[in-house]
Symmetry: C2
């Protein structure tokens, strides 16, 4: 009995000691990020010196070269590129649009959705039919839709506490609106911007055409523009809407994922990824989406080196290419991992903005989730209260097929869609402390994943 | 046995029913705040139409008149003013300051601290002694300080996760720096702004002179200015600093707390206060500090009316006057409550900015705290994870003497000191969703306090 007690006691002591050592290590990680952090100045360069970096653009290539250089300068064990062919869509000259009522023309801000075809060079002008959903559109039938521009005007639901849920409940209009409208003979599709804010910025984003359906041009309209159009339609149902856009899809372009690595000291074949995506929409500096995730991921490795943490497992910072309009980088990364027989035990992605940390969403088996959730007491002092089942991240998603546990970094979601995919997603919209706390949170979870495995 | 089981079961059912009814009510509160909220437009008026409102100023009086009018228009059961005499300090003409090295004069941004005396009309010029703390200053002794300007340059500690802790660790320099410097014969005191940001804004705030010590002028210098001064001192220890400020303290002025009330239907004599402070610093629109708290408090009552919630107890929205440089409104409110034999069971204050809600800090007896903490499952779906012992709020503080339980609304603290007491604390710095979520969080806790008492 006495023996058992002694054993139990010694186990308890060593457990407490490990807990305490982890707690000290995590405190050092936050101190380093908040006192000597590089993420903010890196983000300044990526947004202000490089700027927009849509897949296939010169900006995207500059971002590849620069992040590779930064990681080389940091002296990570290995820095390398992975080739990936990416879609190459270009906006061309700025769009024009107005609401036409008799002799009156009211200009409204629009922007072509990524992947859309252009209008004819003279533009398109047609009557408008406003709908809130695909069922509502289909109920109208082709006779009421044919030859018209479909105007999708279902707002994001403001009562959803997590704004990503509200986004998820509205984004079908942007992704598939053109296809659904074309099926009924519409000549164009205009989509209310995905944001809770009332502003004059068209918030762009990706769309896809269905097969066997006419390719009609589609654009985002600012929320203020959408409100004006809706109001005008109530007063003048027969008004016309004019828009002109000049975008085109060029042949696929060669691009790269950028990878930096610290080699594991005990289990180098077990890999933990921490990443974000390097591409952004063409109208945005891509500060929150997803410059933040990129600089935070590089910062995770920098912090480990700065603190002399020698990970047991191999830690990789991955800047994925082409999340916005293709996910080719994420798919390529997982394909290469499979081909090279790499064992990825976990992947952490930051792609919800550089806001105050709230937690991590986990995709994995129940026992893996339980293991991670047991670390809550170590992380809650840093505001990471929400650790549980949840989404991982688009770029790391393809790794799940081979059993990698996915962790999506969850910052506060309230302001994300104020900036998302629009010109105001710029450096000035990011708080240095919030960005740094996010980097530290990712470093802390990577530290624990490395220490205890999965 | 069967009887006992039936009784237990029925208790359980009624408990679940109550939990569920509360959950539904709280969901409605958030829906109302996020769909039909008035707080954001009220804040726009208070900041953009009224603007700065330091105690005794015309702006403060306009804010009293306007919040009274708003609450009357909302049809609250009773709206009234409480007289209170407040300090009346005025800044006068804008300050001037420069670092003087040989023929070179480098202008730096300063602003007189609230309560400071002016410099002589020609200003003050003297050598500078930089210190990080009072012990360091005292160790220098009068011989090294006499005739000089003391420059307090201890930054807020960036490694504190809660920025209010970092503020608490630095603000002694602002509050008592002039007095401690004067004790050693200094002729002025310049204080590094209380912020983690590197910017050109002097962040002002209150200071007090000790008794029996010379009144020397004191000002905040921007963090960039402080860094420049510190660097210049290292290169030229004998440089001089010039500053001129024109502030003065006028006789106390008459002002008011503004109170709006919904009468309790069952226990009208039990009062629950929800409040913020109406005054702001003169350089700021006072959006986060504390326009947010005022409009959120009015919104709590509006939401209850809009949802047809008839509280059992009396609910009061209180706009306290003079938190910034005297706390006269808070003291007066508690004095009147005592004099009128009012029973205040709880008081909730929002004075930490209009940021995303994280929880409530509670000041009360352990069993009262436990009761409130047991509501966590109802509040955590809204991000209110941090409910536990903590600070209440300056204005409601004096109510604690008569046993009132205090609840301090805790929004995320990361950005607060970016704006605090400076010109950038303006409407544009507030996110509509964050503000509305704060109002809903306060309404939810008031709803529960009313439903279950303390």
């Amino acid at each position: 009995m006495k023996k058992t007690l002694t054993l139990l006691l010694s186990l308890l002591v060593s457990y407490s000691y490990a807990q305490n050592a982890d707690s000290v290590a995590i405190r050092k990680i936050y101190n380093e990020a908040l006192s000597n952090g590089k993420s903010y100045e890196w983000l300044r360069h990526l947004t202000k010196q490089i700027g927009p970096r849509l897949s296939g653009s010169a900006g995207a290539q500059k971002a590849v070269d620069w992040t590779k250089l930064v990681m080389e300068q940091q002296g990570f064990d290995r820095v390398f590129l992975q080739d990936v062919m990416v879609p190459h869509w270009v906006r061309g000259a700025k769009e024009e649009a107005f609401i036409h009522i008799g002799k009156q023309k009211m200009t409204v801000p629009i922007a072509a959705l990524g992947g859309s075809v252009a209008t004819p060079p003279r533009g398109i002008e047609a009557q408008v039919i406003e709908v809130k959903s695909f069922p509502e559109l289909r109920a109208l039938g082709p006779e009421k839709v044919k030859g018209k521009i479909v105007f999708y005007n279902r707002p994001m639901d403001p009562t959803k506490i997590n704004t990503f849920e509200a986004y998820g409940g509205a984004v079908d209009q942007r992704a598939n609106g053109a296809t659904e409208a074309a099926k009924l003979g519409a000549v164009g599709a205009i989509v209310r911007s995905m944001t809770n804010v009332h502003d004059d910025n068209p918030h762009v984003g990706g769309m896809r055409y269905g097969t066997g359906v006419a390719l009609i041009p589609t654009a985002a309209i600012s929320t203020n523009g959408a409100d004006l159009l809706s109001k005008s339609l109530k007063e003048n149902p027969s008004l016309t809407f004019y828009f002109k856009q000049n975008c085109e899809t060029l042949p696929d372009a060669k691009s790269y994922n950028v990878v930096g690595e610290i080699k594991g000291s005990e289990k180098p074949d077990e890999i933990i990824v921490v990443g974000g995506h390097l591409d952004s929409w063409d109208l945005a500096e891509g500060a929150h989406d997803d410059g933040a995730g990129c600089v935070q991921s590089m910062e995770v490795l920098r912090i480990m080196k700065a603190l002399g943490i020698k990970p047991k497992r191999t830690i990789r910072a991955v800047m994925f290419m082409n999340e916005e309009n293709g996910l080719r980088g994420g798919v390529q990364y997982a394909d290469l991992a499979k081909k090279n027989n790499e064992k990825h035990i976990a992947a952490v992605e930051s792609d919800n903005g550089g806001f105050t940390p709230r937690g991590f969403g986990i995709v994995g088996k129940p026992e893996q989730r339980e293991k991670i959730m047991a670390w809550k007491p170590l992380l809650s002092p840093y505001g990471l209260a929400e650790i549980g089942p949840g989404g991982g991240g688009a770029d790391i998603g393809p790794l799940a097929q081979t059993g990698t546990v996915l962790l999506g970094f969850k910052p506060d979601s309230q302001r994300y869609f104020d900036y998302h995919h629009t010109t105001v997603d710029r450096f000035e919209a990011v708080s240095q402390r919030e960005l740094e706390l996010g980097a530290a949170s990712m470093a802390a979870i990577v530290y624990l994943l490395d220490a205890y495995g999965l």
